[in-house]
């Protein structure tokens, strides 16, 4: 019905926007933030274009009353003080992500087919040339995050079993 036109925003731009919008539908435990006005930190691993789009998108915006900031990480960097982590492309195929992130209140997002199998909470997919996403309830449960059902309702598929 609403087919995406050619000059529509690029995938990276959309991913940046979605990453930001996800923050509205996720509840972090209080321990995830140092103070009440500590920023929500979105970490990016790889794909600097997503980081750039996100950075320009975020200028001055708030999410859940908190400022949102972007941090670029290298694939091997210690991932700390991060609330959302986008691991772009095949970087997510590294075996240690699950170990490094498992049980931590981080919204781990990937964008590879079978990303959820790696242990991510949300994985971008493309359906009919549109950017959609899928979600894994077991991963969400393990992370201790609260993800809004309204968001899950939009998910292309919701994985209910590991």
């Amino acid at each position: 019905m609403t087919a995406k036109s050619a000059d529509a925003p690029g995938l990276d731009e959309l991913k940046a926007a979605y990453l930001y919008k996800f923050t509205s539908f996720v509840d972090w435990p209080n321990a995830a933030f140092e103070t009440g006005d500590s920023p929500i930190v979105i970490g990016i691993v790889g794909n600097a274009r997503v980081r750039d789009h996100l950075t320009s998108l975020l200028s001055g915006r708030l999410a859940q009353g908190r400022p949102v900031v972007v941090k670029q990480f290298g694939a091997g960097d210690a991932i700390a003080e991060v609330n959302v982590l986008f691991v772009a492309g095949s970087l997510s195929l590294r075996k240690d992500w699950e170990r490094r992130l498992d049980g931590r209140p981080v919204l781990w997002v990937t964008d590879v087919p079978g990303g959820l199998a790696r242990g991510s909470l949300i994985n971008f997919v493309q359906v009919n040339h549109r950017l959609r996403f899928e979600a894994s309830l077991p991963a969400i449960e393990r992370s201790g995050l609260g993800v809004s059902s309204r968001l899950l309702a939009l998910a292309e598929t919701v994985l209910t079993k590991p």
């Binding site: 019905m1 509205s24 939009l154």
Partner: protein, 632 residues
């Protein structure tokens, strides 16, 4: 019926119109309120709905998921009033749309977003609400719903109409019950008024009521009718009495004319016989007897009439004195005896041996008893038995006159005392009369504080009239006037008669001369005056209406002269009223006698007068109270 219908209809009309107006006004206000409330509620409802949609579709919009948005919108099918809905992106582009199954063919979804707010579009209400995500405007939600006001209003109007009709019906029923308190008395008044006017029914009364003003109306009406009724009854009574009196008067006049004519026929005949040269002395005597009787009859008639007139105008003065009733009764018997003998009746008289004293007018009482005895004689067949009985019982004198004659039916016994009533008007037999004798008798007895009653066992059983008079205390001194000496030898007297009626003077002079008296005659007052002074007579009999010097002046002058101061003077006149009598006595007359006169009675009176005058001149005052017997 017309009045009733119109009043009730008018009241019903007023009440129904008022009720309807109130109902319509309240219905209108309710309608306005309802429309406003409905509108507000509908706008609020749709706005809420739009908010819900906005909230629900916000993520879909955020993550550019038209399918999810369409699914969200599709949930609206459970609300068929919502005809269309749509989601627009922040720049107004259509993102997702929904059209209800009923309106599937209508182009109801605007291509671009409408301004935020609500608006009416035909019969539909459109609401546009912003979609916010974390304070960012990310699009707008649009809802279009059938306003449904018309249907709603139709339903509401139907309900109002039903309520109004029911209220009117209830009002009508209540009014029908309540209005009776007002209309019923008014209608009753109207009905009663119509009864009074149309049927002259003054007995109607309107039942009382409780409503104040109406009860005032009802009471006033009743009072009015009561007053009117009593006035009408009085008027009718008065009219009836007038008619009765008028009828009696007519009857009386007819009877009077007849009675006055009756004696004229035999008198005319008598005159004719007297003129006949061949009529002998016996015939002349018979004729004289007849004429005398008829004259007496006429004179009595006229006297009675005058007396009744006096009594009915309250001018009858009794000259009451301490007197013995027995001589009066004996006198009455003497008067009626010739008639009794002529009819062959036996009259039994039983009187007490001693005097019975009463305070009365001897002449009037004589009149009563003569009347009763005459009636007894008249209404008894010839050869009857008549009794006069008197006795004194417990300070009352009872005088009974009884006969064995025609008697009176019990039903008519009270009526015989009424004026102009006669027991049997059809019977002539010489009994005819004016029917005033008993009336007069009863009135005279009443004036004496007595009573006159009648008892008869019935027709053919005879009747008994009873007079009861109160007796007076025994008098120490005998009465001033004793009974007149019975007729018989009389001392010859010198009598002067003055009357301008030559015939009357001549006949009277002749009679007195026949009886052995010396009589002189003058025909005017002056001549009489001269005659008295020329030779003083024992008695002067003077007419009142005379030329040159009338009777009053004559008497006055003679009383002033020494020579004639104690002359016995008697006025002989046709004027019989009390005023005439008083005037005569004031002028100096000793007695006042109304024509025609009975010579014998006149003579008795003259003897009495001159007998008292001779030894004691100047006792005129006492003379005046002496009864003049013979007028009965």
């Amino acid at each position: 019926m017309r009045v009733k219908g119109s009043l009730q209809r008018q009241l019903t009309w007023v009440v129904m119109t008022t009720t309807l107006a109130a109902l319509l006004l309240s219905a209108f206000v309710l309608m306005v309120y309802e429309v406003r409330a409905y509108r507000q509620a509908w706008i609020l409802d749709l706005s809420t709905q739009a908010d819900l949609i906005a909230t629900a579709t916000a993520p879909a919009l955020a993550f550019d998921d038209p399918k999810a948005a369409n699914e969200n919108l599709a949930l609206l099918r459970v609300r068929p009033q919502i005809r269309a809905a749509a989601i627009y992106t922040a720049n107004g582009r259509l993102f997702a749309g929904y059209v209800s199954a009923l309106s599937a063919n209508d182009p109801l979804v605007p291509a671009t977003a409408l301004a935020i707010g609500h608006r009416f579009n035909g019969a539909d209400l459109e609401v546009s609400q912003p979609i916010l995500q974390d304070g960012d405007l990310i699009g707008s939600a649009y809802i279009r719903a059938a306003y449904g006001l018309t249907d709603r209003l139709k339903d509401y109007l139907l309900i109002l109409a039903i309520v109004t009709l029911a209220s009117l019906a209830a009002a009508w029923l209540i009014f029908r019950r309540l209005q009776k308190g007002v209309t019923r008395p008014i209608l009753a008044v109207a009905q009663a008024a119509r009864d009074v006017v149309e049927r002259r029914n003054y007995a109607v009364r309107v039942p009382k009521t409780t409503t104040h003003e109406v009860s005032v109306l009802v009471e006033s009406f009743n009072d009015m009718v009561r007053d009117l009724s009593s006035e009408m009854i009085e008027r009718r009574k008065a009219e009836e009495a007038l008619r009765t009196a008028d009828r009696h008067k007519d009857e009386f006049l007819a009877t009077l004319a007849h009675e006055l004519r009756n004696p004229l026929a035999p008198m005319t005949n008598g005159l004719a016989i007297l003129k006949l040269p061949q009529a002998g002395e016996a015939a002349h005597r018979r004729v004289r007897d007849i004429m005398e009787r008829q004259l007496k009859q006429m004179a009595r008639l006229i006297d009675d009439l005058l007396d009744v007139s006096r009594i009915s105008t309250g001018k009858m003065d009794l000259r009451r004195e301490h007197m013995d009733l027995m001589p009066v009764l004996r006198g009455a018997v003497e008067i009626v005896e010739p008639d009794m003998q002529a009819r062959g009746h036996t009259l039994a008289v039983s009187l007490p041996p001693m005097p019975v004293w009463i305070d009365g007018d001897a002449a009037r009482l004589a009149q009563v008893f003569v009347n009763l005895l005459n009636n007894a004689a008249k209404y008894t067949e010839n050869g009857g038995r008549i009794a006069l009985h008197a006795e004194l019982i417990d300070a009352q004198v009872w005088v009974r006159v009884s006969d064995d004659g025609l008697g009176i039916e019990p039903a008519k016994q009270a009526a015989v005392f009424e004026m102009f009533e006669q027991v049997d008007k059809s019977l002539e037999r010489g009994r005819a009369g004016l029917g005033i004798g008993l009336t007069l008798a009863r009135q005279l007895v009443d004036l004496h504080d007595g009573s006159l009653g009648v008892h008869s066992a019935g027709l053919g059983q005879g009747s008994e009239f009873t007079v009861c008079l109160p007796a007076a205390m025994q008098s120490d001194a005998p009465a001033v006037s004793g009974p007149p000496p019975p007729g018989g030898v009389q001392r010859p007297m010198h009598i002067l008669i003055a009357d301008d009626n030559v015939d009357f003077a001549a006949t009277l002079a002749e009679m007195l001369t026949e009886l052995g008296h010396r009589v002189r005659v003058s025909h005017d007052g002056q001549a009489a005056y001269d005659a008295v002074l020329a030779e003083l007579p024992d008695v002067g009999l003077f007419d009142i209406g005379m030329p040159r010097l009338n009777g009053y002046e004559l008497a006055q002058r003679l009383r002033q002269r020494e020579a004639s101061r104690s002359l016995v003077m008697v006025a002989l006149t046709g004027w019989g009223q009390d005023a005439d009598r008083r005037r005569a006595l004031d002028a100096g007359f000793d007695e006042h006698v109304v024509k025609p006169v009975q010579p014998l009675e006149l003579l008795q009176m003259l003897v009495r007068l001159s007998a008292h005058r001779r030894p004691k001149a100047g006792r005129r005052q006492e003379m005046r109270v002496t009864p003049s017997s013979g007028q009965a």
